[in-house]
Assembly symmetry: C2
Homo-oligomer: 210 residues x 2
DNA sequence: TTTTAAATTTGATATATGTCAAAATTAGCA
DNA sequence: TGCTAATTTTGACATATATCAAATTTAAAA
């Protein structure tokens, strides 16, 4: 694993709002987020835009670029963040020598596929409040894995960005958050979010198909 | 490439309606569709279901299973289909010896990620008629790549399945198809579809964000 | 072939979310 | 610190799609 370390270089700090890569940029590396928070978004010809994910410290970003040697989305820092760069062709080289590393890469790629398909399920079959519940539970769970509180955290993104990710307008996001608060499942004040009842949120998420 | 051939074994014929793998099945292999047509679908706890893709001859299926050693969706034959099995651990072994094969696998995995993210864009930001247009154009393009007519083909799936894939109810799919026909962009009669104006469909797809 | 079940279309109506607008709050900047 | 722009909330109303229902067509089974 020391050999993997040798590959990785600090790419430095990305300030809030700055861009790690843009759609169309030549693909050369994956990036590990050391600290901070990012969003990825695709933009199609007619200006339609969609946030495809939010990535936090400890997660890997940039896998969209492998297939065409160019990135297909933009990655934007939502807070000041530190990034490590993993040159991909050298990672492939090393993967050939170290089967566990190779396996790990494949797992990461596959999990991204599964993650995306679960968002498809969310976008295709859940109503606004359920989408919000699913979104908050997902954040909660990821914070928990990283040793942060699963019930109390800051949202790093705007209502607009949450809406884009969930296929909703920002007003709908705001209303759904208010409703969840009304139901005593969460407390939300601006970007500060507290989950009062994880179980209740889970129940809310699984209410019923459309 | 003869060595790749040696890996691959005919898994035989899957009749219409039969299941290649189920969610929860142990992951052991990827599958290449030699002939035929499949759908993949996820089912969550509360019975909500979503078609995550339609796969045709020449495409690879099963990549969702790599990340957790178990499949996360069902793969169902939509017509009688022939399947080849590619044992994944042996593919990984071979990839270590043959860098071009390794690269190819990574590309396929990444392209699946990009495909899914484009469906997220569709589900999150397009209206019913645009989704249908995008869906038909995607099929058209894939048929074209495989040497079939890009403008005249059979739909292998029900309106219900199209709807599930596009996040719409089957009635909405039916109505949207009728509208596209009304606009002289397509002719549809049952499962037979003809695209009268590819350009018009593209324009329809890009109409405007919600 | 005849029968039955499944899939599709179309209409009427309901509803969730979008749109537009204004006020209130918060954050960034000089 | 105060000023300005951005974000958020909430309300009133519009609209796209869902829901319910019935008729029709197509495919499957006996």
């Amino acid at each position: 694993m020391a050999r993997l370390d040798a590959l990785i270089t600090r790419k430095g700090v990305y300030r809030h709002g700055s861009i790690l890569y843009r759609s169309g940029d030549k693909f050369q590396a994956l990036y590990a987020i050391r600290t901070g928070f990012f969003k990825t978004q695709i933009l199609n010809e007619d200006g339609r835009e969609q946030v495809t994910g939010f990535q936090m410290a400890g997660e890997i970003i940039g896998m969209d670029g492998i297939g065409s040697d160019a990135h297909t989305c933009d990655a934007v820092a939502l807070e000041d963040s530190e990034i490590c760069e993993i040159p991909f062709s050298r990672l492939e080289d090393l993967g050939r020598e170290l089967p566990p590393l190779q396996k790990h890469l494949h797992r990461i790629l596959s999990r991204e596929i599964v993650r995306d398909q679960n968002i498809m399920l969310l976008l295709g079959s859940m109503r606004a409040e359920e989408r919000l519940a699913a979104f908050l539970l997902n954040l909660s769970q990821r914070f928990a894995v990283r040793g942060y509180s699963p019930t109390s955290f800051q949202l790093r993104m705007t209502r607009q960005e949450i809406g884009s990710y969930l296929g909703l307008k920002l007003e709908t996001v705001s209303r759904a958050l208010s409703q969840l608060q009304e139901s005593k499942l969460i407390t939300v004040r601006n970007r500060s979010l507290e989950i009062l009842c994880l179980h209740g949120l889970q129940a809310c998420m699984g209410k019923r198909a459309r």
